[in-house]
Every structure is written in C-alpha cells, then in structure tokens.
C-alpha cells in the first residue's frame, strides 16, 4: 500500500487527484499535510510514499526539501502556473493545466516506479499486446486458471493483467469486455461463436 501525502491547499485539486487515482484502481491511503514541518520529518519513513507538493502553498519550505529521497519516495510538484517555481527543477512535475489522460499516465508511471520488480511492462492508456491476448482469452470464456495454463504464466499474472485492463478501460465484466473487444476488432463474433459451440472440432478442452 502506498501512502499519498498532499501538501496542497486547494481542496478541489486534492479531490481531483484522489478521484483520478481511485478510478485507475491504484492502491493507496492518503492524508493531508497542513503544517509544512511535517514534510521535513517524513523523509525517514521507509514505506512507499508519494508526496504531492504545491510549492506556492508552502513558500516557507524553499530550499529545505532535500533533493535526494529514499527509493520508496516520490515527490511530485504540482504546477498551476509559471510563478513560484522554486521546486520545479529538482523534481518531477505535473502540470495541472494538462488534459486528464496525460496526468493519468504520469500517475500510473509514478505508482509503477514504486512497485516491486515484478511486472515491468510499460503502462499507457491503450492496451498492450499481452493485455489484448488476455482479453481474447477472457472473452472466449476461459477462467483465470485456464488462461494461466494456456499461456504458461502464473494465475497471479493473469489477475494483474486483468486489473490493468479494467483500470485502463473502466470495464470489468466479461460481457462488457466482449463488446469492447468486438468493437475494437480484438476478436470477431465468429471466433466467439465457434469457441462456445461444444461440438466444434478444434475444441479447446
């Protein structure tokens, strides 16, 4: 579980970031930082943490935030406009004027970079080839276990792929994924019909 700290005074910005991260199914708990000195003590924590800072809200911190943090901590500077940019050079920046997709991708990358070494696949809004293969299997009606056996991967990997697919598309159920897959030509209706007819010669059982 990642701890997210908001050193941001704007309620709307905090709320917006939380809602984007929740929609992406990212796992985190969050709290608001009201006193700037709290931030200075935090660097000793070893848990995974992401700190969002709006420098304009805490000008008194100027120069006192260390440049180097532990590998479990990411500092993200939120930029509203060009003014008061004392932190921008040293840390990753999210521009709040950007469109949601770009911010989403930045957040996914930040979370991903904090994760353990497993599953290094790059995330973006579009499905990866691997995810498309998993989606095909799901639509054909295979269970997680069956997919794992058929693709020679562990069931955990299948579940991780499923989570990513759902996170990216906002579609969870197999019937929902089926419609997406047909509309995006990942699978044809004929393929599905063929797979669900028991008397078929190339049955997969």
């Amino acid at each position: 579980m990642t701890t997210v700290l908001f050193a941001i005074k704007s309620y709307i910005v905090r709320k917006g970031l939380v809602s984007i991260m929740q929609n992406l199914n990212l796992e985190f708990v969050y709290e608001d930082v009201k006193q700037p000195d709290v931030l200075l003590k935090l660097q000793y924590k070893t848990d995974k943490q992401i700190i969002f800072i709006c420098p304009d809200d805490f000008p008194e911190l100027n120069g006192s935030i260390p440049k180097i943090w532990g590998k479990n901590t990411r500092i993200i500077v939120l930029r509203k406009n060009e003014s008061g940019s004392w932190l921008h050079e040293n840390f990753e920046t999210i521009d709040l004027g950007q469109n949601k997709n770009i911010i989403q991708n930045q957040l996914i990358k930040v979370f991903k970079s904090l994760k353990d070494s497993s599953g290094k696949e790059e995330l973006s809004d579009a499905l990866s080839d691997r995810e498309k293969i998993i989606m095909r299997e799901l639509v054909l009606g295979y269970t997680n276990k069956e997919i794992a056996d058929r693709l020679f991967i562990s069931p955990h990997t299948v579940i991780a792929h499923r989570k990513n697919i759902t996170g990216k598309l906002g579609i969870k159920s197999v019937p929902g994924l089926t419609i997406y897959a047909i509309l995006h030509k990942i699978i044809s209706e004929e393929d599905i019909k063929r797979a669900t007819q028991p008397s078929d010669t190339d049955s997969h059982k």
Binding site: L169, G170, I171, K172, P175, G176, I179, I182, L183, E189
Partner: protein
C-alpha cells in the same frame, strides 16, 4: 413530509418502498409514519442514509428488527423487478436503435442489457427465496429455545457466510455499460436521447449502491451475529 421531498426528490423512492402514498398534506414525518404503521426512527435513518452518501450509522441500523429491514429491502426489490428493469430495458432498446446505425452495435448492447437484467433478476429471486426467509427464521429462533435435529441439520448445510461470499457485484455491469456508451461506442446520432438513457442508468446504479450497502452492512452482519448467538445456544445444550 412534503419538505423532505422538496429537499431531495429522490427520496420519493424511499417513500414508495415504505408504502407511503402522496397526498399527505402538511402532515409531519412522524404523523405520516404513525398513520402508515412505520417506525419513525427507522424511516428517518433510511431517508438520511439515502440522502447523505457519507452518513451510515451501521450499528444503529442493525438494531432495527429484521422485519423492518427486510420489508424495506423487499420494497426495493419489487421496484427493480416490476418497474425499473422493464422500464429501463424498453428505454434502452428504443434509444439504442435511434442513436446508433450499425446493426452489430445495436445487437451487442441490447443483448448485454438483457443478460444484465437476467442476472439481477436471478440474484433478487435467490435473496427472496432463500436468504430472506433464512434471516427471518434466525430471528424467530432467538425467541424460541428449540434444538430439534432439523435445526442442527439446517445449520450444518447453510450459513449466511455462504451468501456473503457470493454476494455479486450487481452494479458492476452498469458501470461497464456507462463506459461503453460514454467512451467506446460510436458517436450517437441523438445526444438528447442518449443522455436521457445515461441519466436513468446512473440513477439505477446509485439506487443499487444504496440497496447493496444496506444488505452488506446491515442485514448480513446482523444475520451473522444472530447465527452465532443461536449456534452458541445450541452448543451449550
């Protein structure tokens, strides 16, 4: 009572499930409840949880009798099965045909919803047929001191735990449907009709969320604790 409806017209749904008809004049909430034989505190708690998403006095709600809780849940079931689902299906079928040109898209969405309707109907039927009677039975057992073999047998074969573990996420597919329409289907020819459909889907989703919350956080924990009490009693005999 009329002020309550003016405050949030969606509470009309709640009134409906309690069997409270309109035309109550200037009667207060308490007067209307008394006239309809409804526990006013229960009504207020339910109305408040429906109105404020963040307000949910779980422990307090669990104290109400099974009879009251299930009566309300049943009212909601009737609303879904008899009114909302057929109505939404009709609206969806009409709207999809007006909004999209491609036969394939139309067919996919119509069959998606009909699958959803079937799933939700089965889910509700199971609750009405098995789960609710079991919870009633548990409450009756509290007052009697029976330890018949039949009783022991029933406990061996069923626990509310089983239902808890299989309580499907019935809202999930509605979210999928929203996203399909909002993000992935081609641009609809008639935005007005499409919005109207989406409003209805969102409304049903919110209502189902509220309903599931009462089942999962009030009915199930209450049944679990009654089950434990009865089992403890049995083991002491």
């Amino acid at each position: 009572m009329a002020d309550l409806v003016h405050l949030n017209y969606l509470l009309l749904n709640v009134l409906n499930r309690f069997g409270i008809g309109l035309g109550f004049g200037d009667a207060t909430v308490e007067e209307v409840c008394r006239k309809n034989n409804i526990d006013v505190n229960f009504f207020l708690d339910i109305a408040n949880t429906y109105h404020h998403k963040d307000y949910f006095p779980q422990k307090q709600l669990q104290k109400y009798p099974v009879q009251s809780i299930l009566h309300y849940l049943r009212g909601t079931h009737h609303y879904y099965i008899d009114k909302k689902l057929p109505e939404l299906e009709l609206l969806l079928n009409q709207t999809i045909k007006v909004c999209y040109n491609e036969e394939k898209t139309i067919g996919l969405i119509i069959s998606f919803f009909s699958g959803y309707k079937e799933q939700l109907t089965k889910h509700i039927e199971k609750e009405e047929k098995d789960v609710f009677p079991y919870v009633f039975w548990l409450e009756n057992l509290q007052t009697t001191n029976s330890s018949s073999p039949e009783l022991v047998h029933r406990f061996k074969n069923y626990s509310i735990e089983q239902y808890k573990n299989t309580h499907d996420d019935v809202e999930e597919k509605l979210t999928d449907l929203q996203n399909l329409i909002i993000k992935y289907l081609p641009r609809p020819c008639d935005m007005y009709s499409c919005n109207k459909l989406l409003f209805e889907i969102f409304a049903l989703e919110n209502d189902l969320n509220d309903h599931s919350r009462i089942e999962e956080k009030v009915m199930i924990p209450k049944a679990l604790s009654m089950e434990k009490e009865v089992k403890d009693k049995l083991s002491k005999l």
